[in-house]
């Protein structure tokens, strides 16, 4: 037998009133948003710039625990060449930097800056070895210790892996890779492999015309992977929560970061597409830098390789198979819940990813 629940007029009126009230509050927030009165700054943890070179900056975050509680091995954070590294330090209460400072780490962060046309000729060798090598030297000088740990995220993970392979004796003790795109052998994995292949993308002409590939083009490509989520659902989430200050602020912080892409230096972009994506040279051992092959078997530092189960930008297979190439005796693959960015941002990151990284790193930072 079927029954139909009759609508209750009082309850309906209450819901209607609630909705009107919500829209009222929301329109106020919307007006403030539209007139730029509501802005949520990101990267707020107090820091000092201890080194600069060209557009690069090395930040040192002021410690937040007494000296006797601090870990002796400093930690360097390296993000991708695209987008700002402030995602490591999104906003108070949702900042990996802040979390690690409270766990007693001496935290440094490398900012690649925004490349100009004069930087269009720099490739991965320049960024991983010439620039990052010098930044690490400056960090060692500042911290007074030779040993250090590194966290590399996305292309930053590829850069740190290259550094670890080429300079195994430089003092790197622990290497944490987050959503690392390293192995491109599976050509069916993810849309990027199809989009970026020789038949469809004329990478030489793109680089020739632009010099550096505009961040907006890279951002467009990333958003195109999930068009409805990025261009519709994201804004609907804001619309539905206009009366919720915490959600609005969180959305704005993320939006500030997402809508501030950085150009990809031309030579590095070309190398990324041709030598990494198409020819998979890093895994094949045919990637040449400073006259030598980049061999991941040379990595001696302990490795924590973190992948995200819902990563649509770097499919898991691009990170997992690299494990057998690392020469380290101490290496661990860790699968966490989340997407490419959600892995390290938000309440899930706070509860799961950050403590997991800290738990692994703390045992090796004595």
């Amino acid at each position: 037998m079927t029954t139909t629940q009759a609508p209750d007029t009082a309850a309906l009126t209450r819901k209607l009133y609630e909705e009107i009230e919500r829209l009222g509050k929301g329109s106020e927030t919307l007006a403030r948003l539209a007139t730029n009165q509501l802005n949520v700054p990101i990267g707020q943890t107090p820091r000092e710039t201890i080194w600069t070179l060209n557009k690069l900056k090395l930040y040192h975050f002021y410690p937040q625990v007494p000296a006797e509680q601090r870990k002796p091995v400093p930690l360097l954070l390296v993000f991708a060449l695209i987008n700002r590294p402030d995602i490591f330090d999104l906003r108070p209460g949702n900042s990996f930097v802040e979390f690690m400072l409270r766990q007693g780490y001496e935290v440094y962060m490398l900012d690649w800056g925004r490349p100009g046309l004069e930087d269009a000729g720099y490739d991965f060798e320049d960024y991983a070895l010439n620039f990052m090598g010098r930044a690490i030297r400056a960090m060692q000088r500042h911290s007074g210790t030779k040993t250090f740990s590194m966290v590399g995220w996305c292309i930053g993970a590829a850069l740190t892996a290259i550094y670890a392979a080429m300079r195994p004796d430089d003092g790197l003790k622990n290497l944490v890779l987050l959503t690392a795109p390293l192995d491109f052998s599976d050509k069916a994995a993810g849309p990027f492999n199809k989009w970026l292949n020789t038949e469809h993308l004329n990478v030489d002409e793109l680089v020739r015309q632009y010099g550096n590939v505009p961040g907006s083009v890279i951002d467009y490509g990333n958003k195109l992977l999930k068009p409805v989520e990025n261009w519709v659902l994201s804004y609907l989430k804001l619309w539905d929560n206009l009366d919720n200050q915490a959600v609005v602020e969180s959305w704005l912080a993320m939006n500030n970061w997402v809508s501030d892409p950085v150009d990809f230096p031309g030579a590095a972009y070309r190398q990324w597409i041709v030598e990494f994506y198409r020819e998979n040279r890093l895994m094949a051992g045919t990637l040449q830098m400073q006259g030598r092959s980049v061999d991941l078997h040379n990595i001696t530092a302990s490795v924590l390789n973190v992948i995200a189960d819902k990563d649509h930008i770097v499919p898991n297979c691009q990170s997992i198979t690299a494990m057998e190439h690392f020469g380290s005796h101490d290496k661990l693959l860790l699968e966490m819940r989340g997407g490419h960015i959600g892995l390290m941002v938000g309440s899930g990151a706070h509860k799961r990813t950050w403590p997991a990284i800290d738990g692994w790193l703390a045992q090796r930072s004595g």
Binding site: T2, T3, T4, Q5, A6, P7, D8, A11, L12, K15, E19, L53, N54, G116, L117, E118, D119, G121, N130, R134, R137, A138, R141, G190, P191, K194, W195, N197, E199, H200, L201, N202, E205, L206, Q209, L224, L225, K226, P227, V228, E229, V232, L233, L236, D240, H312
Partner: protein
């Protein structure tokens, strides 16, 4: 058909019901479009779109570049290429300065280490004070 709140439908909340329908629709769209993005046809279309854009902009870029080069030369101003070249040279100088600073720090560190390891040196004798001669 029976309907009760446990089915996710609340007859007293038309807005909630509308949102549920909207979200279900958008989820379906999201899955379909994400799937489409992974197809060979989409990759081909994307490539063609980019090729078209590059082909259209190339002659215009060339013309603007040539015009600006000659204009800047006439105005006795450096071209973009010259500024870029200058900036590259500055980066090279910065790299060398950075290396020099690192070497200097190493040398200073070594000197400090040597100074700390060396035995303390006794202070040299103080010069005797000589009373000034009185003039006759």
């Amino acid at each position: 058909m029976s309907q009760n709140p446990s089915d996710g439908f609340d007859p007293n909340d038309p807005f909630g019901a509308w949102r549920s329908i909207r979200d279900a629709n958008l989820d379906a769209w999201a899955k379909n479009l994400s799937g489409l993005a992974g197809t060979e046809q989409f990759a081909k279309a994307l490539g063609m779109q980019l090729d078209g854009m590059l082909a259209a902009s190339a002659p215009m870029q060339k013309a603007v570049h040539q015009y600006m080069e000659s204009y800047l030369a006439q105005a006795n101003m450096p071209s973009r290429g010259e500024v870029v070249s200058l900036a590259s040279r500055m980066t090279s100088i910065e790299l060398r300065l950075d290396d020099m600073q690192a070497q200097l720090d190493e040398i200073l560190g070594a000197i400090r280490g040597l100074a700390a390891a060396a035995p303390p040196v006794s202070a040299p004798p103080k010069p005797r004070k000589v009373a000034p001669r009185e003039r006759p």
